[in-house]
Amino acid sequence: MLAVAVKPLVLTLRLWWRFWPQLVAMVLLGIVFGDLFMQVAARAALLNHMAGLALLTLVALTQLIVTVAMFQTLLPALPAVRAAQQAAQGESETGPAGGSARLARMITVALLPFFAYYAAWGFLGDTVRQYSRVALDMAPFGEGAGNVLDVLDSRWLIVSVVISWLIRRFATAMQKRGGSRSFWQIVVVICETNWIFIGLYVISRWKDEAIAWIMSRNIFSALQAAADGATHPIAGAFAAPMVPVEVTSVDTTTRLVNLFFYMLLPVIWLVLAALIYGYDVRDDKELMRVHRRVERLGERYRAIPKFLRDFAEHFISGYRSRYLPIANGVRITLSSGVVLIVTLIVGYRLIDWLAAWAWLGMTRLIGPHELDTWQVLSEGVSLLFGSPFQDSSTGILVEPLRISFLAAILETAFALPKRQVGESGQPSGPTSPAEAQHA
């Protein structure tokens, strides 16, 4: 049991030692290009707000590409993950792809979940905020440029999505015709990123508005009052007394919810890693076998009239063939034992925690200076350890370690004897005809 916990830690250090120059170089490239694209986007926003927003997509895309490339770099040192990939490749009869095409495919696969994660953790808002700040710096008091974010509330957003959809269609057509395939692949990826980015941000804004609207209705407060009255009939009758903040305590439910989200982040990152490595594992039979009910769901889906199914497939088929394998990879990882998951959560948070303390320790070491001097020094410290005040910033000492750790956990999960036995005992069947078509 202890071996399962220690193995990923040893592997992390070994991976880090073997690949640190490549990983650090990639993080640095990500920082440079991210900053560059941010400036370009802000400059473009001064000319046209929509163009600025479209270019902002590149900032988030840079982050995704760097992450994917880092995981890809570690692949040669992960024999179990590679074996699983190769086995799946043999099954689905996809030929070996070249390096850049592979990377492009991995990015396409990771796009939607990555952005969903990005939005859910508020990084999307962070990026947009940073962007509006840079634009405001360039045009003090919004002179000439106005509010660069006003397009987010306008109907022109639909036009932007339509344009990127048209470009994407054109790119896929060109891709089919042959020619520079990987170039068109990149265009497709950028277009998809664009609407996912815009879409998610708009949805999150509309969600806020919808909630605000509901909250502003009297119905809700009446309901709430009724509910309060029902749950605390007597306490509600008295005005709440003033309580000093030191004496107040966080109730258990809040604490549990916080703990849940605290533990969720490492798991989500592991899912991202599994999805980046697992894009080749195409087999929905294994997934469908999870539960009889899921199986029945699949049967019921097949019973739907064909024209309806075609209509639905038209929209989801691409995503289905992309995400089924991922669901598989995730299932494999999450079912690999409690010890490994606990190691993941504790280890991931430990890296975070140590990075934050290293940041703090460094500030103590440097000592007090004037604010302007400190501002410059803090940039150097943040480059090393990432900034604790900026969620999406990555330090060159921390990020490679984090990625190595996630890869090590995944490798350990794939190498577990339990899984190997399970695989040989239950050989997965051939892929369904529908899957083969989309593959």
Binding site: F19, A25, P76, D372, T373, E379
Partner: protein
């Protein structure tokens, strides 16, 4: 190709990329640092007086488009109603206007006293000494509408501890010239 040869090939390419990455760090680390800290460095240089330009006693120096000259620096001893051990110090300048666009060139004008330990004192308004009508200060000069070739008399009043009066020297800085600033020397220096 056999699996062994393929493996050897991969190893060689990995070593190659490791070496390349190591070399690229030499460029990437300073580059990333420069990109990240560009705005902060700009703010640091634009807001602070970092590099002094010493001006000998009796000489004038071109600064912010005009010629600055320190004409007097003296303490006004024996005043009442002041904190104990503090002395008002008056610094007088004569400025011959060159470029008359003072609102741009003299923006953020700051005259301070610096002592030998690097301590700084800003002008005070606690001490109100009578000044002739034609004597202004740095900020009022910006809006005086002075033309090229005019000579302005400027005076700033400071309140410094008695022990610092021996070593204080006046310095002048404006936003258009920062991080450089003028540090005037006295006759005895």
């Amino acid at each position: 190709m056999t699996a062994e040869a393929l493996d050897r090939n991969n190893r060689a390419s990995e070593r190659k990329w490791r070496r390349r990455s190591l070399w690229s760090l030499l460029v990437l680390i300073p580059l990333a640092l420069a990109v990240e800290s560009y705005d902060s460095v700009k703010a640091l240089l634009g807001n602070n007086d970092l590099f002094p330009r010493r001006v000998a006693w009796g000489e004038s120096a071109r600064f912010g488009g005009s010629d600055w000259k320190l004409t007097d620096l003296r303490g006004a001893f024996g005043m009442s109603n002041l904190p104990p051990d503090s002395v008002p110090v008056l610094a007088d300048f004569q400025v011959k206007i060159g470029d008359p666009d003072l609102q741009k060139l003299w923006l953020g004008c700051k005259i301070v006293l610096v002592d030998k330990d690097g301590r700084r004192w800003s002008p005070t308004s606690i001490v109100s000494l009578k000044t002739p009508d034609n004597v202004g200060n740095c900020i009022s000069a910006i809006f005086s509408g002075a033309k090229s070739g005019d000579t302005l008399d400027l005076r700033e009043t400071f309140l410094v501890p008695k022990e610092a009066t021996k070593s204080v020297r006046p310095s002048v800085s404006v936003a258009s010239e920062r991080p450089r600033f003028l540090l005037f020397q006295l006759e005895k220096d």
